[in-house]
């Protein structure tokens, strides 16, 4: 039976191909000149260069975080190239002018890029090796005043907005990787939903790492003004390389009064092979500021890829009655390591947060949930509910839960529930005795286990996530 489980988990990675495309790659290494080079290439205003240099100065004084429950060799930051962009043939006027090789790449990945096809009814911004290559539905969104596109473009077209919000949720010196990102980020998505506008479609960014020795440092900024709402989706894949690539992104969300931002991620970066060779180091800082009264920020993540995941999508609940949510499924297999969770910082009165975390470990992987719930002295009537469940497949993997709870207001109510379960021989035999094979049984158990999180995903993403977990687990049951 063990062999059956093994095979179930070990499905080949389907996005591991490399696109042959001419790229403009910066020389390896990081110093002030590299940063000036990036800034010059992107023709940036002076304030942004200063933002970068300030971040770089802070980064130099910082140390890599040692507290996560993950192990990896020291990263040589001088061996990474900090800029890689597909060489554009000329300035693109519409998506039809995108390099067909690139279009084929995204077709292969199942990302709808053809505006005419209007397949999914989702507006997509596509980021290829740190550079936004195309955004669909731009014009249609602009009709209702929504700005959606690459952050580089926004820097030029809406500098006042970018300047006003960039670095306000994740300050340049927030942490080691956020500082690094602030210094060298090359592109990312920018999204602005003006006052009172409900975004008519889901917005989506698709990230693809292609080059072997480049890091990917994208920066996403989403602002929902008073009464605005948006649902945002993010997908990621990378080719298979036997070296590790660094991905250090920063995502900032700002929700003003009565605004609502829902951010969903299906992360499927290359995870390394069955011996733990290669894979992405996914060191990401994601934070939402529920700035206004009655605002809401909701994170949903399905983390299945990366050799190492270090990521804590968080909510700072500043506005009174604001709401923060975190729904997470993290699956690790083979030698993958994940240390992921959230931070809910309650500052405003009657703020509420919900945390639902489902960790699934298979193979020899190690999966940790780490979460902070902090109730500040002023947060009268704050409430939190946390539920952290772990599931083990096989007996060589690990699951850990590290909850941190800090309550400084007596009227607050904080609940934490945790459970650990195991897919065992007897469960599988029960299914088998009813005619159901191990593969289908595991998929049913896992989907049942993740139900509370999948329900939060937009329909198509939920289907995708269900399939993905099935693929990732094929062969691991036993």
């Amino acid at each position: 039976m063990s062999a059956v489980l093994q095979n179930l988990v070990n499905q080949p990675y389907k996005h591991g191909f490399v696109t042959e495309i001419e790229s403009d790659v910066a020389p390896k290494g990081l110093n002030e000149d590299t940063i000036r080079l990036i800034s010059t290439k992107k023709n940036e205003p002076q304030w942004l260069l200063e933002f970068r240099l300030k971040a770089y100065q802070q980064w130099l004084k910082m140390d890599e975080p040692k507290w996560p429950n993950v192990k990896y060799p020291k990263i040589d930051f001088q061996a990474i190239s900090y800029y890689s962009a597909p060489k554009p043939k000329n300035k693109l006027a519409s998506i039809d002018e995108v390099d067909p090789e690139l279009l084929r790449t995204f077709e292969k990945l199942g990302v709808p890029m053809n505006e005419r096809a209007k397949l999914a009814g989702v507006a997509v911004d596509v980021i290829f090796d740190s550079v936004s290559v195309a955004t669909t539905y731009k014009a249609k969104l602009a009709e209702v005043g929504i700005i959606f596109g690459s952050i580089s473009e926004a820097v030029h077209q809406h500098p006042e907005l970018v300047k006003q919000y960039l670095g306000t949720v994740v300050p340049v010196g927030d942490n080691y990787y956020a500082a690094l990102n602030s210094a060298v980020f090359t592109d990312g998505s920018f999204c602005f939903i003006p006052k009172g506008v409900k975004c008519p479609m889901d917005l989506s960014t698709y990230f693809r790492i292609n080059t072997q020795e480049s890091g990917q440092f994208e920066r996403t900024l989403i602002i929902a003004e008073e009464g605005a709402s948006v649902s945002y989706l993010e997908g990621c894949t990378a080719p298979k390389f036997d070296t590790n690539q660094l991905h250090a992104a920063v995502v900032e969300l700002v929700a003003l009064d009565n605004a609502d931002i829902k951010y969903s991620t299906v992360q499927n970066w290359y995870a390394g092979d069955e011996n733990g060779i290669g894979g992405i180091y996914n060191f990401v800082t994601k934070r939402g500021l529920a700035k206004g009264v009655n605002s809401r920020i909701s994170w949903t993540q399905v983390e299945t890829g990366s050799a190492i995941t270090w990521k804590y999508p968080s909510c700072v609940l500043l506005g009174d009655n604001s709401v923060g949510e975190f729904y997470s499924v993290a699956l690790t297999n083979n030698y993958q390591q994940a240390d992921t969770g959230t931070k809910m910082v309650h500052i405003g009165k009657n703020t509420r947060s919900t945390i639902v975390s489902k960790g699934i470990s298979a193979g020899r992987s190690n999966n940790s949930y780490r979460g902070l719930v902090k109730i500040a002295p002023a947060a009268a009537g704050a409430r939190n509910y946390s539920q952290c469940d772990s599931m083990l497949i096989g007996d060589q993997c690990g699951a850990n839960t590290f909850p941190y709870i800090q309550v400084h207001n007596h009227s607050a109510k904080v609940e934490h529930e945790a459970s650990t379960s195991k897919i065992g021989e007897d469960q599988l035999f029960y299914f088998a005795q009813r005619g159901i094979g191990a593969e289908e049984a595991v998929s049913m158990i896992i989907n049942g286990f993740c139900k509370d999180v999948f329900q939060q995903l937009p329909m198509e993403f939920a289907v995708e996530a269900t399939k993905l977990l099935g693929l990732k687990l094929e062969g691991s049951v036993g």
Binding site: E425, F429, Y430, F431, A432, R434, M444
Partner: protein, 264 residues
């Protein structure tokens, strides 16, 4: 019921099996024809449940000798799920809990899997809902249990009813019910036994594994077998069960040893 023209459904010859390298079954012989109800009785540890699980193909029960022919095929070559699809059903003594998986979903998947195997139409969720609710009436079950997770938080009686419901859905040719009566109160026992009786036809067969005679008051066996130390040591009609109820198991064992001694 014993029919003159019935076919042999299951033929077990000299079956030996180990659990954790300990030999539990030491040469079982048993023939089951369609239409028959067999009761397999015997004291704790005599190997009844092991026999049931070995027939169903539980991976922890390793067959070390003997042969099992089911519908003319070598049953031991089939994987557990293939045995189930071929019509071998095990009613679990301790049904397994599967948190997060709705009973309705589980029942439909198992039903459709077996239907597909038989070349019959599968049912969509709405059709299945009507179908399963009809079957549930047979077992006097509360419809809300369809929305609950499989066996999770079920009482002993509910779990056993769920087993028989699955039997009703899957219409097995050979149903092995492992201590289905244990943990049931009198009323539940009557309902479950009634359900089993309704499912017995001349084309299928039922093997009841039980400690006690009381279930046999409701489901009348054609044969009663007594197991001891991994073998069937005595076979009789339904009156044997009554005698066991009166006299216990010890005399069977004494008689068996005497017979074995005389033969040697």
């Amino acid at each position: 019921m014993i029919y003159q023209d019935s076919q042999t459904l299951l033929e077990v010859r000299g079956l030996c099996a180990t659990v954790n390298s300990v030999e539990i079954l030491k040469g079982i012989d048993l023939t089951v024809r369609s239409g028959e109800v067999h009761a397999l009785m015997g004291p704790n540890g005599s190997g009844k449940s092991t026999f049931a699980k070995a027939l169903a193909g539980h991976p922890a029960y390793v067959v070390t000798g003997g042969a099992v022919v089911y519908e003319g095929k070598n049953l031991l070559e089939l994987k557990p799920e293939e045995r189930a699809r071929a019509g071998v059903f095990l009613g679990f003594q301790y049904p397994i809990e599967i948190p997060g998986v709705a009973n309705s979903q589980f029942l439909r998947l198992t039903y459709n899997t077996v239907q597909a195997q038989r070349g019959k139409d599968e049912l969509d969720p709405l059709e299945f809902d009507d179908f399963v609710r009809e079957k549930m009436k047979l077992l006097e079950m509360n419809p809300d249990f369809l929305d609950r997770s499989v066996n999770e938080g079920f009482s002993g009686g509910e779990k056993k009813r769920n087993e028989i419901l699955q039997m009703a859905l899957l219409e097995p040719r050979l149903a092995i019910l492992d201590e289905t009566d244990s943990g049931l109160d009198i009323d539940a026992l009557r309902v479950v036994a009634h359900g089993v009786n309704r499912l017995a036809t001349k084309d299928n067969a039922i093997v009841l594994v039980t400690h006690y005679q009381r279930m046999l008051n409701y489901i009348e066996p054609d044969y009663v077998h007594v197991m001891e130390s991994g073998r069937i040591v005595k076979t009789g009609g339904k009156e044997l069960a009554l005698e066991l109820e009166r006299r216990g198991y010890h005399w069977v064992s004494v008689e068996h040893r005497a017979a074995a001694g005389a033969a040697a």
